[in-house]
Homo-oligomer: 249 residues x 2
Amino acid sequence: MKIIASQFTPASIDCNECPIKHRAVCAYCEKSEMALLEAMKSYKTYAAGDPIIFAGDKMAFVGSVVFGVARLSQTMEDGRKQMVGLLLPSDFVGRPGRAYSAFDVEATTEVTLCRFERKPFEKLLRDIPNLRERMLEMALDELDAAREWMLLLGRKTAREKIASLLTIIARRQNILPDAAKNEVSFDLSLTREAMSEYLGLTLETVSRQINALRKDGVIKLEKKRHVIVNDFARLLEETGDDADGGFLA
Amino acid sequence: MKIIASQFTPASIDCNECPIKHRAVCAYCEKSEMALLEAMKSYKTYAAGDPIIFAGDKMAFVGSVVFGVARLSQTMEDGRKQMVGLLLPSDFVGRPGRAYSAFDVEATTEVTLCRFERKPFEKLLRDIPNLRERMLEMALDELDAAREWMLLLGRKTAREKIASLLTIIARRQNILPDAAKNEVSFDLSLTREAMSEYLGLTLETVSRQINALRKDGVIKLEKKRHVIVNDFARLLEETGDDADGGFLA
DNA sequence: CGACGTGTTGATTCCTGTCAATACTCGTGG
DNA sequence: CCACGAGTATTGACAGGAATCAACACGTCG
């Protein structure tokens, strides 16, 4: 058995110290409300590749991603697979008001969840306006993201899809380019296969297009998973999106 | 100028008589809460093809589709276009908490909206828990629908896409097949072009695949826009989805 | 070292897009 | 009444981009 970092993470975290407290579903809660959540939370860590929930399974809990990357996906009978959600720290897992999961949830890297049993959480959602408000806001944000993703899946070329994914990952890691230095670098926490599931491509096409972008000088690669972008504006052009759309939003 | 039906529809509707009162955003509201909404609502009708909001425009209002079909879509600089929402009666238009629309909204058929000014509506959303609860529920439902749609866009073949769209339209018009007679028929309120925007295809491919399904005896056509399905189970097989997935949900 | 997971690269196929010509439908106006 | 035109839909020929099938390279771990 591999030794994984989680074995050294504390069994629990003080909510005041929580790295996602400003963006998670609890972000708007007041002290007294936090106490209610804190009383019922528990942490669980999943190894990279482990399933968290299967589609059709009973959802006993919901929760927030604290560390790591998880993904939401759907699989067709013949094995075709499409990722439909990329869950980074502060993102919410599970759907209140629904007993069974419509999607598979898997850990992509090692993932730590802050979990709540579904039923009690749903009660808090009814009782705490601040919680429900944040939940609504997050759902609407995800809906917007899903719709951007639909444009990518339905209309973009393979090259544009790759460029778009790279900018999305760069943005979500908050490694936005300085006005001063236009260079960014970041890790792809996804394998080529995971990228292909995200983009609706085969992993071969992903590999080819990444290398095409490299050959064209749009990106540089280090160790296959680390990307260096010298000219972020150039990468943005390759996405097919409006030049400035992403930054004004 | 063409004479349109809307010129004969009443300027306002009593909420008690509203055809969407059980499913719209106001569905959970009590009498006193309905009164607040009723005081601020106004109706507006748009002709088929008319824009309702442009992406980037200030959103002065939000509202519910009462009659007709509208669509939410995104356009790339070079004209590629992807529909990202199909809005049928009771569906909500606009995003509370956001001043500018991220998407284009257009009337596909003639559409009547029950509109609320955005700012006052947002205040009610804060004040009326029943309203916020329904709003959250609708947002989560739309998110699930968007994720199903992503599977369609990313992984399904053209033929599967068409079959899927037909079942979606049949379901949303609540023309589910009787256990007794397995035959359903319904109108496509979408042009071939609108279908292509929904499915991430060209209109030529849509036309070809519809006719392929017809030649294979899966569907029959009347007047190009009316579909008759003799064997709904057969159509479901063509979608690529799990045979029973849709019905258990 | 060998096995496995991951990634790259090549040859080929085929589905869908593109370009183009031709019907069909429905109003409008001569 | 028929001709005309615009919008919608079908059909064909062809091209191209991504999928498929297959071989091989790289790194890590046992």
